[in-house]
């Protein structure tokens, strides 16, 4: 037995039999008690029974303002956008709100699953908005703003009225109106450590089937949609990759500007051809096409931050990027953001 496991064993022996709440701190000089302020700073989770939910409130109207400023660029004004993330709102009915089951699933006519069609616990939304939103500045909303934004989303789904004020006092009532609140099951074998499987194949070895039917094959467009497969396989060995069409091998031909843009994290907010939180690079190039001072002005926008040019969301100063890299990035953007 190693010295360490002896230490561990004696520590376990010292604090008595398992089952009861035990003493803490078995490793001399390893770890320490957390202070109450430290626990408060990090223990931000909110459970379905609302344990952990801080007091506060927010109106649908206030939520609409916060939404337009901080959320709409990714999620769309009405939470319907499918441009950056899957839609938050849509696909639920008054009847769903009454029954707690989303009818679109049962009828099988849901083109896409939105967040409000899926979520069964309103605490989930509060917790996630609070811990992870907005996309480019997580944990920056006040508690009241989280209540307000959530109230706005719930109103878009007709779960609460337009004049509603959501608060820690009434959120349990809102829970009773979530469209998919009765749509979850934990009766399956993939959760409990001793859970039972739901498929039962048998390991037949000989003459297991009389005929084999091709049910699905790879469509030609899908074969070509992943670049040149020959470039994704080794050039020696048992096999070679097939040459496929597509738009070439992204890795082999990538423009240095794309690599720099990604490595500096620009792609979190800007797409080449599509806006995310900020504008598309190619839209920037279009706007500044005839502007001789564009380069120096845009270098300044990146280094010092800017706002008001493309919407309500300001671009934070990117002080971590070197001058040379900023200049290279701006030149790449103004040249039309070539991808290879």
């Amino acid at each position: 037995m190693s010295r360490f496991s002896e230490l561990l064993l004696s520590a376990v022996l010292l604090c008595g039999s398992p089952g009861a709440a035990e003493a803490a701190g078995h490793f001399p000089n390893l770890g320490r008690a957390a202070t109450p302020d430290e626990v408060k700073a990090w223990d931000i989770d909110v459970r379905p029974d609302f344990k952990g939910l801080p007091p506060g409130s927010g109106t649908v109207a206030h939520g609409a303002d916060v939404w337009e400023a901080k959320c709409a660029s990714c999620h769309g004004t009405f939470g319907e956008s499918n441009e950056v993330f899957t839609p938050l709102v849509g696909g639920t009915t008054k009847e769903d709100i009454e029954t707690g089951r989303v009818g679109a699933y049962i009828r099988g006519d849901a083109p896409q699953r939105t967040t409000l069609m899926k979520v069964a616990t309103v605490s989930t939304l509060w917790d996630y908005i609070n811990r992870a939103m907005p996309w480019n500045a997580p944990k920056s909303l006040t508690h009241d703003e989280v209540y307000a934004v959530l109230a706005y989303i719930l109103n878009l789904g007709d779960i609460v009225p337009a004049d509603f004020t959501l608060s820690d006092k009434n959120i349990a009532d809102v829970q009773k109106r979530l469209p998919n609140r009765n749509g979850m099951t934990t009766k399956h074998g993939l959760w409990d450590i001793k859970g039972k499987p739901d498929t039962k194949n048998v390991a037949c070895m000989k003459n297991c089937t009389s005929h084999v039917t091709l049910a699905s094959s790879l469509p030609e467009y899908a074969r070509d949609a992943h670049g040149d497969l020959a470039e994704q396989n080794r050039k020696v060995g048992a096999v070679r990759g097939q040459h496929t069409g597509g738009d070439g091998d992204a890795v082999a031909t990538v423009n240095p500007g794309v690599a720099l843009m990604k490595s500096q994290g620009c792609s979190g907010c800007h797409g080449i051809g599509n806006g995310i939180v900020g504008p598309a690079f190619r839209d920037v190039a279009k706007r500044y096409k005839n502007d001789k001072d564009a380069e120096s002005r845009l270098v300044g926008h990146v280094k010092n931050g800017s706002g008001g040019n493309w919407g309500d969301i300001a671009m934070p100063a990117q002080t971590q990027v070197s001058d040379a890299d900023v200049t290279a990035l701006i030149r790449w953007i103004l040249s039309g953001s070539p991808e290879n």
Partner: protein, 443 residues
């Protein structure tokens, strides 16, 4: 002709064009004289240019290469070694169009070119929910709170002084093979099965930390794991699992975790889907109810035919896939081939893998290569002589509980086609007479 392999009788199938359709038919028919003629022509050209006498044989042997006649490069020229320039094709890649923003996306491991069971750390698949960070380990902290006698804080110094263990486990995203639930969608095993990796992880058992904080075993039912990234990824883990074999890990394949894999600290939850292996782990809370966090209430829920969603699906059931040959590849020639693949089970060890080359009519049992470890990838191999006729290759794994990997028909009979998660169906690769392998599903 310069691209011709110099080994007589060896065919490099080449859709890029030096073989005409007629040539390809000749190869398929086993008539290969034209290639031998081509070889003679090629070696004659070599003889004419560099050798006084027409020596017969492989130029790769006859013409001493530069590396046999010159001084090589010094030690430590590359203090952190990198793969050969000739291996540049084997890298993790995104599936075009799968996601819109690369900070919340996936890159797939190139299973089609890997050997054995260990995933090189630089090829480990990635899934981030709000981008990755390279966190200063000196400033990283782990807090344990909730139903414990004392909420405690540990530095990396504290954790790395504790009694550690090293264990080899697979990690598979719950959505691995998710694009294939309804029909065939992607061309290669990298995209169909590449959210799968296997590493040796080093860390302290979570049970040791829970014990160190004085967990209240009378009331505790679940633990909650939370990351330090922007998304503060959160997942609920049942207490029996948490006390079983879960690790709080800092080591991966002999070095520290890579930043993309959670440096400096992540949870390792053997047998359970990757999303629960919380990266950049900052906090463990002990509680008496599950949390229904975003990634267990909006995503990572499995839609069933009756319109309900299975919540807290966690376990990765027994599954296998042939990696060589696999979709998007071409066999060089008829004759001997080693069919090779991977098998794994979240319930324990892989007991057996059977391979079929006729679409599931008949099966033969493959060799399992050692080590065969619990909740780890297991490499299987089986000899095969291809006679040039069409074939459909499949593998079927059985784990130590006796569970047999299901067919697509069996899986869909229970779970329909609209789920995204936990697709462990038997994979089929169709081999055409040309030697081309493609992704298919069969009944």
């Amino acid at each position: 002709m310069s691209q011709l392999p110099a080994r007589p009788g060896r065919i490099r199938r080449a859709p890029e064009g030096f073989l005409s359709p007629r040539d390809i038919r000749e190869v398929a028919a086993g008539r290969r004289d034209f290639l031998r003629n081509a070889f003679v022509a090629a070696s004659t050209a070599v003889a004419g240019s560099s050798l006084a006498l027409a020596a017969e044989g492989d130029p790769a042997i006859l013409d001493l290469p530069e590396h046999s006649k010159t001084l090589g490069r010094p030690v430590a020229e590359r203090p952190y070694g990198t793969p050969s320039q000739y291996e540049a094709g084997l890298r993790r890649r995104e599936s075009p169009g799968l996601t819109r923003v690369a900070q919340s996306s996936v890159s797939f491991a190139p299973l089609q070119g890997m050997f054995g069971i260990i995933t090189p750390s630089g090829l480990h698949f990635e899934r981030h929910h709000q981008g990755w960070h390279d966190i200063d380990p000196a400033r990283h902290r782990l807090m344990v709170n909730g139903l414990v006698k004392e909420a405690r804080v540990y530095t990396m110094d504290d954790l790395m002084r504790m009694p550690s263990v090293s264990r080899i486990h697979f990690i598979e995203c719950g959505a691995n093979t998710g694009m294939e639930w309804g029909n065939v969608a992607v061309p290669t095993v990298q995209y169909s099965h590449g959210m799968l990796s296997c590493s040796e992880f080093t860390g302290v058992p979570l049970s040791v930390l829970l014990d160190d904080c004085g967990i209240d075993l009378k009331r505790a039912k679940f633990v909650f794991a939370e990351g330090a990234d922007g998304s503060s990824m959160t997942r609920t883990i049942s207490l029996d699992r948490a006390l079983d074999d879960v690790l709080v890990a800092w080591g991966q394949n002999g070095e520290m975790l890579r930043p993309e894999n959670g440096y400096p600290l992540r949870l390792v939850v053997p047998g359970v889907q990757g999303v629960s292996w919380v990266k950049w782990l900052r906090r463990i809370e002990v509680g008496d109810q599950p949390w229904a966090t975003k990634d267990e209430a909006v995503h990572y829920i499995d839609l069933l035919p009756d319109g309900t969603h299975r919540q807290y699906t966690s376990l990765q059931e027994c599954k296998s896939v042939i990696t060589t040959p696999s979709g998007g590849q071409t066999l060089l020639d008829r004759g001997f081939h080693n069919i090779s693949g991977l098998a794994w089970s979240g319930r324990g060890r892989v007991k057996r893998v059977d391979v079929s080359t006729d679409g599931g009519r008949n099966w033969r049992t493959a060799r399992l290569e050692t080590p065969v470890l619990t909740k780890a990838l297991t490499r299987f191999n089986i000899d095969w002589v291809w006679d040039g006729s069409p074939a459909i290759l499949q593998s079927r794994a059985i784990d130590e509980t006796g569970f047999v990997q299901p067919s697509y028909a069996q899986l869909r009979a229970v779970r329909g086609t609209r789920s995204i998660y936990h697709n462990n169906a038997i994979q089929s690769w169709k081999l055409a007479e040309t030697g081309d392998v493609s992704n298919v599903q069969v009944f």
